[in-house]
């Protein structure tokens, strides 16, 4: 084994190195999941209760009081299918965005591919997804939904993948920015809140009157992800043009995020 340590310039993904450190990746994820639910009395149950309560509140306010349409399916199912993906994004983004700063003490003392940290933050959110997915199945059974299993097996993973790409891209971008500019600690929660309005979690895209507004919303990759998740249970064709915009935008975020992260990671230890 021979390698060089020299001034760092340029950009390389160096996936091989990340694979070498895959065990550390696993340990970081494992640590974050463990710590997250450690001192909570109900433990992992919170991963189920959180989206469930949010769904109930949404159903009460938006479904019952405001009468928001739900593409012909019961509003609880509608809201929950959106929340399923949205929660991965919001919790993944906020923990990934703060991950480099909160792990600064480790970064300053030991070397490993820094990308592992935001990556494992996103993975913790994916773990929560699987917990709440169980609830989702329960809801589908409770409301006696007529679900095409094949469609479900196709669209849910695709939607999750899109969510992960988008969360990881934006997360690593924000993580790197956060090291340099601590302002982002305050910007991130605000950003997530604003993005929620741009994501059809509580409302269907179909109620938007203007076509241009639909395009703007589609530029938010999470809109595409939520739509994909719903397509699994609603009998309605996917709008290909909107979906394409979302997918392209997700990959754009991924590329920008990875590029910026890799460009700046060498100096994290100096400024963190």
């Amino acid at each position: 084994m021979e390698y060089e340590i020299k001034p760092q310039k340029g950009f390389s993904l160096n996936f091989r190195e990340i694979i070498q450190y895959s065990e550390l990746f696993y340990f970081f994820t494992w640590r974050d999941i463990k710590v997250k639910y450690k001192q909570a009395l109900l433990g992992f149950l919170w991963a189920i209760l959180q989206p469930l309560f949010t769904m109930l509140i949404f159903t009460f306010f938006f479904g019952n009081l405001l009468g928001v349409p739900s593409d012909g399916i019961p509003y609880p199912i509608f809201a929950f299918s959106g929340l399923l993906m949205w929660n991965v994004f919001s919790s993944g983004l906020s923990s990934a965005g703060n991950s480099m700063v909160s792990n600064a003490h480790i970064i300053k003392k030991i070397y490993f591919p820094r990308l592992i940290i935001p990556m494992s933050s996103v993975l913790v959110a994916v773990f929560d997804f699987f917990m709440s997915f169980i609830v989702f199945i329960g809801l589908l059974i409770y409301f006696q939904m007529d679900v095409d299993i094949l469609k479900m097996c196709l669209f849910i993973p695709a939607s999750l993948l899109l969510t992960i790409i988008c969360t990881f891209g934006m997360g690593s971008f924000l993580a790197a920015l956060n090291v340099k500019y601590r302002d982002f600690r305050y910007i991130i929660p605000f950003m997530i809140q604003s993005l929620m309005f741009l994501t059809p979690v509580i409302y269907p895209v179909s109620i938007i009157k203007y076509q241009w507004a639909k395009y703007i919303i589609a530029a938010n990759p999470m809109a595409g992800a939520v739509d994909l998740a719903r397509a699994a249970i609603i009998n309605k064709p996917i709008q290909t043009d909107l979906m394409l915009i979302s997918v392209i935008s997700a990959f754009l975020f991924l590329f920008i995020g990875l590029f910026y992260f890799r460009r700046t990671e060498y100096y994290f230890a100096d400024i963190a």
Binding site: E2, Q39, K109, Y266
Partner: protein, 401 residues
């Protein structure tokens, strides 16, 4: 044989100053306050450092604070990149810039062993294999399932070092981690380090603790202002370091904080005649100058040595030699020589004076004295005296039955 590490012209630049210290805010970047004043203060933490390390070398890096030791270690362990130059590595490096990196209070001792081990670069199977050994070394087996936050700091440290001690890289980089913990545990760690060194592993070790360096490293590198000042055998490097340290010369006593002071009497300077660090049972020679501005009756000057926890160990006064010493205004110089029977360690020296009408001056912690172990035999059992003080004893054992 090819060197395992080739350090070639390594330089590292930091930007210092600036209003926000380390990190910038977004506003600073969007709206730079004053383009011309944009701070360009550069600071070279390392300049043109080159040396080769061969397999099995044990190298100690010494230097004053700010000489660039930690920066060099950080570059070697890839935490921060160099600004110029390059390093060719031909082996797996594990760096211990801190013990217990990544320890998490919410996790149990057992979980932390795995987490810390994998951060340090151990594979899970390796940790499994060494788990019992690690637990054994740490001596915390009773508390393995207890959350780390309930551990005492000493226990955390033991656990941390136990994991670190079981790393088996080709090159081990260590930064002053041994300067902590109780004496017994330090000795255990030191033993382990020596063992690692003897097993042919390459070690690069930074420490202010000269006795430790002496016992672990065969070779020493002295850093000064970011460049190598000396590279050679450890004791030669230490001597060189001590010479540089003592060249700073006279200690300015006048501006030191004083507990007692008077208008009549002032100690003006203090210096060691030769060096500031001594070997056990070596003569310590000091020169003390004082200024008298009025007539003082029965002047009595004293000095004391105390240990790091401020226990008074030795106090000597001039009244033994000069029982009733009356002085006129003027400047005076004292030559003082002592031969303390103290064990190796760091001691504080304090100065004071009184006279028939009361106390004149008392200055605590005028200087630090480092007493080094006699270099030939470091192992304690070889010494015929152990403990705080060195005592010569005469033994006579006869068989009576």
């Amino acid at each position: 044989m090819k060197p395992i590490l080739e350090i070639q012209n390594i330089s590292k630049k930091f930007r210092i100053g600036g209003d926000s210290g380390g990190y910038k805010t977004l506003r600073d970047n969007l709206f730079p306050k004053d383009r011309k004043k944009k701070d360009k203060t550069e600071f070279w933490a390392l300049q043109d450092v080159s040396f080769d390390v061969f397999p099995g070398d044990t190298i100690g890096i010494i230097g004053k604070n700010g000489a660039g030791k930690s920066t060099l270690l950080k570059i070697l362990s890839r935490i921060t990149p160099p600004t110029k130059g390059k390093i060719i590595c031909r082996g797996r490096i594990a760096s211990l810039l801190e013990v217990g990196t990544g320890f998490h209070g919410e996790l149990s001792g057992k979980e932390n062993i795995y987490l810390n081990g994998s951060i340090l670069g151990l594979k899970k199977t390796e940790i499994n294999k060494k788990f019992d050994e690690i637990v054994d070394f740490s001596g915390v087996e009773k508390f393995l399932d207890t959350q780390l936050k309930h551990y005492s700091s000493g226990m955390q440290l033991r656990l941390a070092f136990a994991v670190a001690a079981h790393l088996e890289p080709e090159i081990l980089i260590i930064d002053e981690v041994l300067a902590v913990g109780d004496a017994e545990f330090q000795r255990k760690c030191l033993g382990k380090m020596e063992e690692v060194g003897n097993s042919g592993r390459t070690i690069i070790f930074v420490s202010h603790n000269l006795p430790q360096l002496q016992s672990i490293c065969k070779q020493g590198i002295l850093l000064e202002h970011g460049s190598i000042k000396f590279n050679g055998k450890t004791n030669k490097t230490i001597t060189e370091y001590l010479r540089a340290k003592n060249a700073e010369g006279v200690i300015d006593v006048i501006n030191m904080p004083k507990v007692i002071k008077s208008d009549l009497f002032q100690i003006s300077s203090f210096r060691f005649k030769k060096n500031k660090d001594f070997f056990e049972q070596e003569n310590i020679e000091m020169i003390i100058c004082f200024i008298v501005t009025g007539v003082i009756n029965e002047l009595n000057i004293g000095f004391s040595l105390s240990d790091l926890s401020n226990n008074l160990l030795i106090e000597c006064r001039s009244s033994g030699t000069y029982p009733s010493y009356d002085v006129k205004p003027g400047e005076y110089e004292i030559a003082l020589q002592i031969k303390p029977q103290l064990k190796n360690g760091v001691y504080y020296l304090s100065l004071g004076a009184n006279c028939s009408s009361g106390n004149l001056e008392y200055i605590p912690h005028v200087a630090e004295i480092e007493i080094l172990p006699t270099l030939t035999n470091i192992e304690l059992w070889k010494n015929n005296s152990n403990g705080l003080l060195i005592t010569n004893s005469t033994w006579s054992i006869n068989q009576t039955k």
